[in-house]
């Protein structure tokens, strides 16, 4: 519920505490060393045990087991149709597995971020972000205040009264992110949230997401097409084969540094190459 004490925020290489603004749009990157605020923060564990799903008689996912520790960040990659979206939706309770079960730790406050922003076009950004609180019965004053704070956290504090039509695609996604975070979720599920945006905006939003995760300590499960994004954000990447999907590879991601500089490190490139090979192999094989 409350922000973490600044002592928990790890120091960056340049000596300034990471997360502090260096300029209008850049923030000090945070290193992976002592990144995880284990034991602190609000994340809960997520277990997908032997979950399986089919549609219209055809299997989409074979038995998948996936475990996320509290405050973990895991990414799932795979070719189109491998069932990764279905996996995410089962994790969030939008779909029921045919076999196996889903276990979420307490308190289970789950938020979703979809590929489309899914904003109500007739509401301002503020009222959109406040929506989950409104539907949960929170009073007007409090919910607007919390929504404002959430929008500030995604750098949209000056656009609270704008309607979605007046915002760019990237800004709309940020509003969606703010809305997902306004309820202070313990588990954040993301389904290719930045897939429709251009590369620059995508990287900016990845940075913001990374930082929000680090500061809040929530557990995050990200489904993405982009291996680079998966390596950039997650501590562990799971590769699924072509549909019906099964796990082809699980790889822990350790990088010398987290943040924009990470992309140019050799470690980063190596992770990407290995994962790409696994992805290609899994995509080539018939299920």
């Amino acid at each position: 519920m409350h922000r973490l004490a600044s002592a928990a925020i790890p120091m960056a290489m340049h000596g300034a505490p990471c997360g502090e603004p260096l300029g209008p749009r850049t923030r000090e990157p945070c290193s992976t060393a002592a990144t995880r605020t284990s034991g602190r923060g609000r994340g809960v564990g997520l277990k997908l045990l032997g979950v399986k799903k089919g549609f219209a008689g055809l299997p989409a996912l074979e038995e998948i087991t996936l475990e996320l520790a509290p405050a973990a960040f895991v990414a799932v990659v795979g070719p189109s149709g491998c069932g990764k979206t279905t996996l995410l939706r089962m994790a969030g309770g939008l779909e029921q597995p045919e076999a196996g079960r889903v276990v979420i730790g307490e308190p289970a406050r789950v938020s979703f971020c979809f590929q489309e922003a899914r904003l109500l076009p007739w509401r301002t950004a503020l009222d959109n972000v406040a929506l989950p609180l409104e539907l949960g019965g929170i009073g007007r004053g409090e919910r607007r205040e919390r929504a404002r704070a959430a929008l500030e956290r995604v750098q949209l504090g000056d656009r609270v009264d704008a309607r979605p039509a007046a915002l760019s695609g990237g800004m709309r996604m940020r509003v969606a992110l703010a809305r997902a975070l306004v309820t202070e979720p313990s588990l954040l599920l993301l389904d290719e949230p930045f897939g429709a945006l251009d590369e620059v905006t995508r990287q900016e939003l990845d940075d913001e997401l990374l930082e929000l995760w680090q500061v809040s300590g929530m557990t995050a499960l990200l489904v993405t097409h982009s291996i680079a994004e998966a390596v950039y954000l997650a501590e562990e990447v799971v590769v699924l084969s072509r549909g019906p999907g099964r796990v082809v590879m699980r790889r822990e991601i350790s990088l010398p540094v987290r943040g924009p500089d990470a992309r140019s490190t050799r470690s980063f490139q190596e992770h990407v190459v290995v994962l790409q090979k696994a992805l290609a192999a899994g995509a080539g094989r018939r299920g």
């Binding site: 939008l94 979703f112 899914r118 109500l120 007739w122 929506l131 409104e134 539907l135 309607r163 039509a165």
Partner: protein, 257 residues
């Protein structure tokens, strides 16, 4: 203000050109007045009887507005009800569409028997004609809510009432306004037809009776004047709906941006 002028300018120019052409045609071809009066004759007919005609227009306008208002409320309420139940939709919707098909002139005498002479039968007539477009557009709008948004509301465990007022109705608003625009014009037709069988005569005559009397007396110029005034009523109602639509949709809907 400039925007208003920009919106009104072109249609007024077209209307002006039509009227000019019409009057020139009348001057050169000289058709008998009982057959085709010119705009000048029609204006003269209006001016020489303006108080009576304006009073008639007021009566018809009030009846049409009342019928329209009732149709707007009932149509949107019924549409919302049908949207909530597949069963009701299948049972009631086909019957409601019958409302459109029954010719009003056949129904109107029945309305007199049920509601009596004067305003009530006229309002009922206007309401019947205007109801279905509102009902259909409401139902359609509510059924066309973005499934992604619906899923989101389900995720937040929104209650039924919240889903209707916060998602369904705003989402359906553009469609409902379209239905209301259509209903506005139809309500005037319904009012005039209702007046044919139930309107008072003499000094308390609404436009429908003015039209019938003028037809019988071969006062075609007066017929056109009265018909023109009923069109004005239609425009006014339509304008009110359009203004409300603009107010409601202006910040977010492509049609009003």
């Amino acid at each position: 203000m400039r925007r208003l002028a920009g919106a009104l300018g072109p249609p007024m120019a077209v209307v002006g050109a039509v009227l000019l052409g019409w009057q020139l045609g009348v001057w050169s071809l000289r058709p008998p007045p009982y057959l085709v009066p010119g705009p000048v004759d029609i204006t003269r007919a209006f001016l020489s009887d303006a108080p009576r005609l304006l009073a008639a227009m007021g009566r018809t306008g009030l009846a049409a507005a009342a019928g329209f208002g009732l149709a707007a409320l009932a149509g949107s309420a019924l549409g919302s009800l049908l949207a909530a139940s597949r069963f009701l939709q299948r049972g009631v919707y086909p019957l409601a569409s019958l409302l459109q098909m029954v010719p009003l002139v056949a129904l109107a005498p029945l309305l007199v028997i049920w509601f009596g002479y004067g305003g009530r039968a006229t309002v009922a007539s206007a309401c019947i004609v205007a109801l279905f477009p509102v009902l259909a557009s409401t139902l359609d709008g509510l059924r066309s809510v973005d499934p992604g948004l619906k899923e989101m509301f389900a995720l937040y465990r929104a209650r039924r009432a919240a889903r209707f007022w916060k998602l369904g109705l705003p989402s359906a608003a553009p469609s409902i306004f379209t239905g209301l625009r259509v209903a506005a014009g139809l309500s005037v037709i319904g009012a005039v037809v209702g007046e044919f069988v139930s309107g008072f005569g003499g000094e308390h005559a609404p436009l429908g009776i003015v039209i019938l009397a003028a037809l019988r007396e071969s006062r075609t110029d007066l017929v056109f004047a009265a018909v023109g005034l009923s069109a004005v009523v239609g425009f006014l109602l339509f304008g009110v709906v359009s203004s409300l639509a603009w107010l409601a949709l202006r910040n977010w809907h492509p049609s009003a941006l």
